[in-house]
């Protein structure tokens, strides 16, 4: 059994509901899909037991009705665990993971600025990466967003 399969077995042993949700895409790449209500239990276990070295990145995706989030966790042995979860777009709330990884702060601020996700527990701070005068309610990484929306809003304001 290789290292990737060992991780798969360990996760399945502890979280049976992950059956068919763990995909070993190639050597050193594992994708794991977890529903939000069970996500933090799995995440907590992985961080504490699987030799996680760092949170490499946090990707946010607009997938129509939902937002998906992928936590890219690098293990010391070179394997990357990609934990994917999602929330409904009409209630985009997500708990912070800065308690585990302080570096998550800037990645979570990106989710807030670019997708309009509210990150619960994220301490107050400067926004990132949009300008301070960026209009409210404009989230450029949402699929429907076009830069013309910004001009229309400015035109309305200046009319």
């Amino acid at each position: 059994m290789n290292e990737e399969e060992k991780i798969q077995q360990e996760l399945l042993k502890n979280f049976a509901f992950l059956e068919n949700k763990i995909k070993i895409q190639r050597v050193r790449r594992i994708f794991i899909e977890v529903p939000l209500e069970k996500f933090f239990a799995v995440f907590d276990y992985a961080v504490k037991n699987l030799g996680v070295s760092m949170l490499s990145a946090l990707s946010g995706l607009d997938e129509g009705e939902n937002f998906s989030f992928i936590y890219h966790l690098a293990l010391a042995n070179g394997i990357m665990l990609n934990f994917k979860t999602g929330v409904a777009k009409n209630a985009p709330l997500l708990k912070t993971v800065t308690g585990y990884f302080p570096s998550a702060e800037i990645y979570e601020r990106e989710l807030a600025d670019l997708l309009g996700v509210e990150v619960i527990g994220l301490k107050k701070g400067k926004r990132y990466p949009l300008p301070d005068n960026w209009p409210e309610g404009q989230y450029p990484l949402r699929k429907g967003w076009k830069k013309e929306a910004l001009n229309k809003q400015e035109d309305k304001k200046n009319a």
Binding site: Q25, R26, R28, R29, F31, S53, M54, L55, S56, A57, S59, G60, L61, D62, I70, H72, A74, A76, N77, G78, M80, N82, F101, P102, S103, E105, I106, Y107, L114, G125, K126, R127, Y128, P129, L130, P131, N133, P140, L141, W145, K147, L150, N151, E154, D155, N158
Partner: protein, 407 residues
């Protein structure tokens, strides 16, 4: 008892010639608290990628950064190739490795010069940047460009290496190695350098692990974190090299690590040109990439560069996410500044070798006409016309020049 004084540093040229804004709370000369505001270089590249084809994206992604452009273009190409199920030809993997290491050499020599400049040791800047020209000439010779090399294509590389170029590279490596040995000697005896950099920008191994720091900044605190070794890509699995670490935990350590990495890069390049496999340099990749996703990692000169790509079966990606090394390192800067002297600020910031173009990537609207006036996003054509009109008002007419080009 005085209250702390808060001063802004930046966003223009806070240390390097790139924008970032620091707020420092001072008690006398000591920094009690530091916070960083980024985003001034946000250009909407991730969004723009969704609106372009993969091949257009390859060139756009390369322009995220002028210093480590090959890092971004390779990371992106690797992700797309993985989704498309492409087997990269071995010769292409070796050429990518070669250009990647040439890029690391120019970047580390650039850093050494900047570090010298930040501590008032401008002779070091002059020396290292003069030497850097050796590698810049090789990059121009091999790829056709000094920056934004355009060497990658999806499925391989665009240019092959000739035996004559191999000879030139070998000669350049010898010259650069000799110079690097001099800098290593300098770093071990030159008191200006040792005293100014030792004990400054201190970060323990524990803090590196806690803050998720990457690259030479992490390695100088004893954390042997290097994607080339941990998660090999291109030709690195077939090459013998050491991950250089140091235990000084400060900027002096980061200097030692980068100098050691220069020596390792010469070693890697010599192996690449010696063992360069025969065969094609590229395979064809269909314009439409099948549905799928991939995470690609690359050890850029500043640390791990991560690209996530999701494909939806069309000619354009569904999502492209870029996490450049400086974004992973920026929190460590605020940490390293606290409880240090204000005078250390420029070198502490410079010591992570920050790249804010890489870090930021979307749309900045410049309020060109003042508050309350109309703001518009300007497209390229309007910008070009605006330029022509502006110069014509200054009495400079491009009409003749345009005609000459047309002929």
């Amino acid at each position: 008892m005085h209250d702390n004084m808060e001063i802004p540093v930046g966003p223009q040229h806070p240390a390097l010639k790139e924008p970032a804004s620091f707020r420092l709370s001072l008690s006398g000369e000591k920094i009690m608290q530091a916070s960083v505001r980024l985003g001034y270089n946000h250009r909407g590249i991730e969004k723009a990628c969704e609106e372009r084809t993969y091949i257009q994206d390859l060139y756009l992604i390369e322009r995220i950064c002028g210093i480590c452009s090959h890092a971004h273009s390779t990371a992106f190409a690797q992700a797309v190739e993985e989704i498309a199920g492409v087997n990269l030809p071995k010769r292409a993997a070796y050429i990518r490795t070669l250009v990647g290491e040439l890029e690391r050499i120019h970047s580390h020599l650039l850093w050494l010069g900047v570090a010298g400049h930040e501590i008032g040791f401008d002779t070091l800047l002059m020396y290292t940047w003069a030497d850097r020209e050796i590698v810049m000439d090789i990059l121009a010779n091999v790829t056709g460009n000094r920056v934004n090399y355009g060497i990658n294509s999806l499925g391989g590389v665009r240019r092959d290496i000739s035996p004559e170029q191999v000879r030139q590279i070998a000669k350049a490596m010898d010259a650069l190695e000799e110079r690097t040995k001099y800098y290593i000697e300098l770093a071990s005896v030159e008191t200006t350098l040792i005293n100014r950099l030792s004990g400054v920008g201190v970060m323990s191994k524990k803090d590196v692990l806690r803050l998720g720091t990457v690259g030479p900044t992490a390695r100088a605190s004893g954390v042997a974190r290097d994607v080339r070794k941990d998660d090999p890509y291109a030709a690195y699995a077939e090459i013998n090299f050491n991950v250089v670490t140091d235990n000084h935990n400060d900027i002096y350590g980061r200097t030692i690590v980068r100098l050691g990495e220069l020596m390792e890069s010469f070693n890697i390049i010599r192996q690449v040109i010696k063992n360069l496999p025969d065969g094609p340099i590229a395979v064809k990749v269909a314009r439409k990439i099948p549905s799928g996703e991939a995470v690609s990692r690359y050890e850029a000169p500043r640390g791990e560069d991560l690209h996530y790509v999701k494909a939806n079966g069309t000619e354009s990606p569904e999502r492209v996410k870029v996490r450049a090394p400086t974004l992973a390192n920026i929190q460590s800067v605020a940490f390293m500044l606290e409880d240090r002297y204000l005078a250390d600020m420029p070198i502490v910031v410079a010591a992570i070798d920050p790249c804010f173009s890489c870090t930021d990537r979307s749309i900045a609207i410049k309020d060109a006409e003042g508050k309350g006036k109309k703001k518009k996003i300007v497209d390229w054509e309007s910008l070009r016309l605006h330029g022509i009109e502006w110069y014509s008002k200054q009495g400079i007419d491009f009409t003749a020049l345009n005609k000459r080009f047309k002929r």
